[in-house]
């Protein structure tokens, strides 16, 4: 059960252990869904998804075998280019071909779905995956596009003006 408590100025909704267990569970679900991890590659979204993808990669290596793990930066693909600043230094790093692979996109928080839409466009420019699946640590709702996650750490009802922060120490709502 998640530990509900006050931490700094926010509400802790997942502890560090909860996050760790969720990653292990998602790793098992990825193996189950894909009948193994042949052709599976992990792609973390810059920048919140990258560390989760790396930990998923470690977990998959422990239960099946190592899979390639990359990172994608979607700032040049967003539909709101010009409305938000790009974060320099979070560069796409995809040292493998995507053609024919099953890509598991990994992000920390799924909100409007626009980042994922941009990521799908970005993947297109790197090749043609056989399938794309989506793993997120937190699904907080408020989708603006027909996008749903395949693997979820925690479904977390939020209001639009709340902020959800995810890191290895846990998940905090402010």
């Amino acid at each position: 059960m998640p530990v509900e408590s006050q931490r700094s100025d926010g509400r802790l909704v997942m502890s560090a252990d909860d996050v760790r267990r969720a990653i292990t569970r998602i790793a098992h679900e990825i193996v189950e869904r894909n009948h193994g991890v042949d052709d599976v590659v992990l792609v973390g979204l810059q920048r919140g998804g990258v560390w989760i993808a790396e930990q998923l990669s470690d977990a998959l290596a422990a239960i099946e075998k190592p899979v390639p793990c990359g990172a994608v930066d979607v700032s040049l693909y967003r539909d709101d280019v010009g409305l938000r600043p790009i974060v320099p230094g979070r560069v796409t790093d995809m040292p493998f071909a995507l053609d024919g692979s099953t890509v598991v996109l990994v992000d920390d928080v799924l909100f409007t779905g626009r980042t994922v839409r941009a990521a799908l466009d970005a993947l297109n420019d790197h090749g043609r995956p056989r399938a794309v699946q989506l793993a997120v640590m937190v699904d907080r709702g408020h989708r603006e596009l027909p996008i749903r996650p395949d693997f979820v750490g925690k479904n977390l009802p939020t209001s639009r003006d709340e902020n959800v922060a995810v890191d290895a120490d846990g998940v905090v709502i402010t």
Binding site: S75, L76, V81, G82, I86, P88, G89, T92, D93, D125
Partner: protein, 313 residues
């Protein structure tokens, strides 16, 4: 940032920001499909009143890789030949709906001037002897990558050799390199230096042999042959023997030193060795990085929305 007119108006942080943005663009350029939709629907017009191969094609390529529309304005076949003024030309093209002008002009300050006549962003692609800021940025990026100086150029020794007086590249480079912390020495005959070097943050030398072994970067400028009529140097051969990179001088370069040149090269004049045989030559990388740097500049001016507050995903 609305315009890029000179290096002087950039702070060190601005240069670092553009360098970091360039990292993204370099990655885009390495992909099988080197094109992103970032500037879809934006129109970039390049107007070159002076000849250019690399700068013009570099800007065009940069704009296209960001999915901007590129309008090419050939001055030689335009109404400029019928006596249309620069102002009328800019206002006319501007009225067609333009988001950015990339302009090269023989007069110093031309880029600054046209910002008064249009609401579009203006990128200076070279104005007279004044400035060539994207060249300086791509030079910084090349040094940053090849000498692994992501944090800045503190203590880096750079020599800029040749026709400083007529060189907009030198003016931009000196400002950019020193702003990032480098120690710059200019090496040139007195006739190819500006009348006064007061206020330039550089050392001046006339002895290339003493400088070459000391530097981390040897930056050769193009000997502008079209200026040879002014009798600024006795002969090209004498220039080469005193200020050219000869095989004998190349052997005294330190092993890690970079050799750079903004192009086009005069082989046998300032470059008296085959650059492909110089291990430190990064001249071709300068050209490659030029596209990425210009993508970063266009994106910064037209698409980044920098200065606005980030909202949550």
């Amino acid at each position: 940032m609305k315009h890029l007119l000179d290096i002087d108006s950039l702070k060190a942080d601005d240069i670092h920001h553009l360098m970091a943005l360039t990292d993204h663009m370099v990655e885009v350029n390495q992909r099988p499909i080197p094109k992103v939709p970032a500037l879809r629907g934006k129109t970039v017009v390049s107007i070159f009143f002076e000849d250019s191969t690399r700068t013009r094609t570099s800007f065009d390529t940069a704009a296209r890789r960001l999915s901007a529309d590129v309008m090419n304005f050939a001055v030689s076949s335009s109404s400029v030949n019928k006596g249309e003024s620069l102002r009328d030309t800019i206002e006319t093209v501007s009225a067609m709906g333009v988001d950015a002008f990339v302009i090269r002009h023989g007069s110093s300050g031309a880029a600054q001037q046209i910002t008064q006549w249009t609401n579009a962003s203006v990128v200076n692609a070279g104005d007279g002897w004044h400035q060539h800021p994207t060249q300086a940025l791509l030079d910084c990026y090349t040094i940053r990558t090849h000498l692994n100086r992501r944090e800045g150029f503190d203590g880096l020794r750079i020599a800029i050799v040749g026709d400083i007086k007529h060189s907009r590249v030198a003016r931009s480079d000196i400002q950019a390199f020193t702003r990032l912390g480098a120690l710059v020495t200019v090496v040139a005959p007195p006739t190819l230096l500006p009348p006064s070097m007061d206020g330039w943050p550089v050392e001046v030398s006339h002895d290339l042999d003493a400088i070459v072994p000391e530097v981390d970067v040897l930056y050769l400028l193009r000997m502008q042959r079209e200026r040879m009529t002014d009798a600024l140097v006795p002969s090209l051969r004498e220039y080469t023997s005193l200020y050219g990179l000869t095989p004998a001088r190349a052997r005294t370069l330190s092993p890690h030193a970079l050799v750079m040149h903004p192009g086009p090269m005069n082989r046998g004049v300032e470059m008296a060795v085959d650059p492909s045989e110089l291990p430190g030559s990064v001249i071709i990388h300068q050209v490659t990085n030029g596209v990425a740097v210009r993508m970063a500049v266009l994106f910064e001016l037209l698409g980044s929305g920098s200065g606005l507050k980030a909202e949550e995903t």
